[in-house]
């Protein structure tokens, strides 16, 4: 079943990409065309085939102690903040994270 504009609006919300009405229409057409391109994947009998998530098979997480290591390249605060759209002192500044009701700001 093809994706509806409502489906695509839901995906846009999840992906945090605000789309205008026109964009939503174009995006819906694209998504349906792109998903059609993927069809061969659904036509395989893949019983017993292991997935390959990565070309290097034996990867494992790299763990480290919670200690400051001088050899690790941590950005100084001024460098870390220099590309931020909004900052205050040592911090990134963001609008309200909880809601828009009176008093939240």
């Amino acid at each position: 079943m093809p994706l509806s504009q409502k489906d695509v609006a839901g995906i846009a919300d999840y992906a945090r990409i605000a789309l205008t009405g026109d964009e939503l229409q174009e995006m819906t057409a694209y998504m349906n065309e792109a998903v059609e391109l993927l069809k061969p994947i659904t036509e395989y009998d893949l019983d017993g085939v292991e997935p390959t998530f990565h070309p290097i098979g034996d990867l494992s997480n790299v763990m480290g102690g919670d200690v400051v290591d001088a050899s690790v390249r941590a950005l100084p605060i001024d460098v870390a903040l220099k590309n931020a759209g909004s900052s205050e002192g040592r911090y990134f500044r963001v609008p309200s994270i909880l809601g828009t009701e009176e008093g939240d700001r």
């Binding site: 945090r16 605000a18 065309e33 391109l37 390959t52 950005l75 590309n83 759209g85 963001v94």
Partner: protein, 498 residues
């Protein structure tokens, strides 16, 4: 004296070492060529003249002190604009990162600089590397130096065009589905995607983390081999957990004959829809050229190869969606002003910062990773990836390398492939190698008999046999006398070594 665009990387480094010319003179020649050629080519998003001259001066001072110079001493180099280099912006050709200043230097860039290369600037690309024509750059198009009414390919189109026009000697690009090999083919230069893990991805803005690999462009196989040596030294990068030790001297055996080695041809791929006659015939000609040098041509089968493009357009958008989630408009990147909530700021920053194709890929990835859909596409795509990997393993029992086209056709006109999914087919010959993680190289075969534009062959090989790929590429280069060619409209324009 000669124009610097006629010199190989090794000749430049040797000339600087011998004192025939200084690194500063070469840097000035390259910047002069950029001035003269760039109005028609537009390969660069940023020209880093100050950094270039400072790096060249350091090289010249090191020589004056009697120090040993690196193998790329004084060699002008461009970097794709998804690679961090302190002192430049890293925009990924996106409004999202228009004002982003590099906060550190990528390992691949640093290794080129450590080998003595001179950083001429940052090259144009498809936005976040989503594309095959460099048309999705948010800033400007890049013109193919062989015909400026045509695209250079992509996504590393600026890196390819800067080398093809002779503005620089070598450049770096990144290849997620063909983004080095396809533009190399369209611009008539050598372009290598090394085996996944051979080159560190640290400091390269991520697109598809299990697919991305950095590699060099050059006008000679030897130049690419020299750059590869710099990129893999001194071993694995502790800042990229997927980086592997690759202790290979790519210059060793480069000139060795290929007699007795086996070249695989996949008959199914040579008949695929969309492949033009001139490209097919040129690649068959390359097979004969290798046969003439004593190689044996054998037919091999890759039965699941036709599904590679489908698997890729599941895996790549999913990884892209995951990677590009970091662009939240808070820590860096475009930030929408005057929003009441963080959620609104995020959604509008992403809506107005990303271009159309970047939004399409992320939307597709978001959908494919959503509950229920994951089991229909994402998981099966990774199973098909296993089948394709097994196909290659079986093929390499019968042959040493596989020869095929790098791109189905020569450079196309701007706007010609306006439908996104039509554009995706540009990578039909390159994508499977990213899925399995193997190396591949594009090598020029001269001009197509119908279009008069550059045509290339692609050589693919087993994991970490990248040196052998370059040995085969060198054999083709020798047969076609295709070494060191600058696009004729630009050769010698600015860039004389005084």
């Amino acid at each position: 004296m000669a124009n610097f665009d006629q010199l190989s990387a090794a000749q430049i480094a040797a000339g600087v070492r011998a004192g025939d010319f200084s690194a500063t003179e070469v840097a000035r020649a390259s910047l002069d060529a950029v001035d003269a050629r760039e109005p028609q080519v537009q390969a660069f998003l940023e020209v880093s003249a100050d950094l270039a001259l400072k790096a060249a001066e350091r090289t010249d001072q090191a020589r004056a002190r009697g120090e040993e110079l690196g193998p790329l001493a004084g060699v002008p180099c461009a970097f794709k604009d998804n690679m961090h280099l302190v002192g430049t912006h890293t925009t990924c050709a996106s409004r999202m990162l228009e004002n982003y200043e590099s906060t550190f230097t990528a390992t691949c860039v640093q290794r080129m600089l450590d080998a003595g290369a001179t950083p001429i600037g940052k090259a144009n690309m498809d936005e976040f590397a989503f594309g095959s024509s460099t048309e999705s750059s948010a800033f400007h198009r890049t013109n193919n130096p062989w015909d400026t009414t045509r695209v250079p390919g992509g996504s590393s189109g600026g890196s390819a065009a800067a080398v093809a026009s002779g503005e620089v000697t070598v450049s770096l690009g990144s290849d997620t589905g063909g983004s080095i090999r396809q533009p190399a083919s369209l611009c008539g230069v050598v372009g290598m995607k090394p085996t996944y893990g051979a080159v560190s991805r640290y400091g390269v803005v991520a697109f598809g983390s299990s697919l991305d690999q950095v590699g060099p462009f050059g006008r000679r196989v030897e130049d690419v081999a020299l750059a590869m040596n710099a990129l893999v030294s001194p071993g694995r990068d502790p800042f990229d957990s997927t980086s592997q030790d690759c202790p290979i001297d790519f210059l060793e055996h480069l000139e060795d004959p290929i007699a007795g080695k086996r070249v695989g041809i996949v008959p199914q791929l040579m008949e695929v829809q969309g492949l033009t006659d001139e490209v097919r015939d040129a690649v068959n000609g390359a097979a004969r050229a290798l046969e003439d040098q004593g190689a044996q041509v054998v037919e091999v089968d890759l039965p699941n190869i036709a599904s590679a493009i489908s698997a890729y357009y599941v895996i790549a958008p999913c990884e892209a969606f995951s990677n590009l989630a970091r662009f939240d408009g808070v820590r860096y990147g475009y930030q929408e002003q005057g929003c009441a909530t963080l959620a609104e700021q995020t959604s509008l920053s992403r809506a107005h910062g990303f271009g159309e194709e970047a939004k399409r890929r992320q939307m597709l990835g978001a959908y494919l990773l959503s509950s229920g859909v994951y089991d229909t596409y994402y998981y099966p795509a990774q199973q098909v990836r296993t089948l394709i990997t097994q196909d290659y393993e079986r093929a390499y029992e019968k042959c040493d390398v596989i020869l095929m086209p790098a791109a189905p056709r020569t450079a196309f006109k701007f706007g010609e492939l306006s439908d996104p999914t039509q554009m995706y087919a540009s990578d039909m010959f390159t994508i499977s190698n990213n899925i399995v993680g193997n190396g591949g190289v594009s090598v020029p075969l001269g001009l197509g008999r119908d279009s008069g534009l550059p045509v290339s062959a692609q050589l693919q090989g087993p994991a970490f046999r990248d040196r052998m790929l370059l040995q085969f590429a060198r054999s083709i280069e020798r047969a076609y006398d295709a070494s060191g060619i600058v696009a004729p409209d630009f050769a010698g324009k600015g860039g004389d070594l005084a």
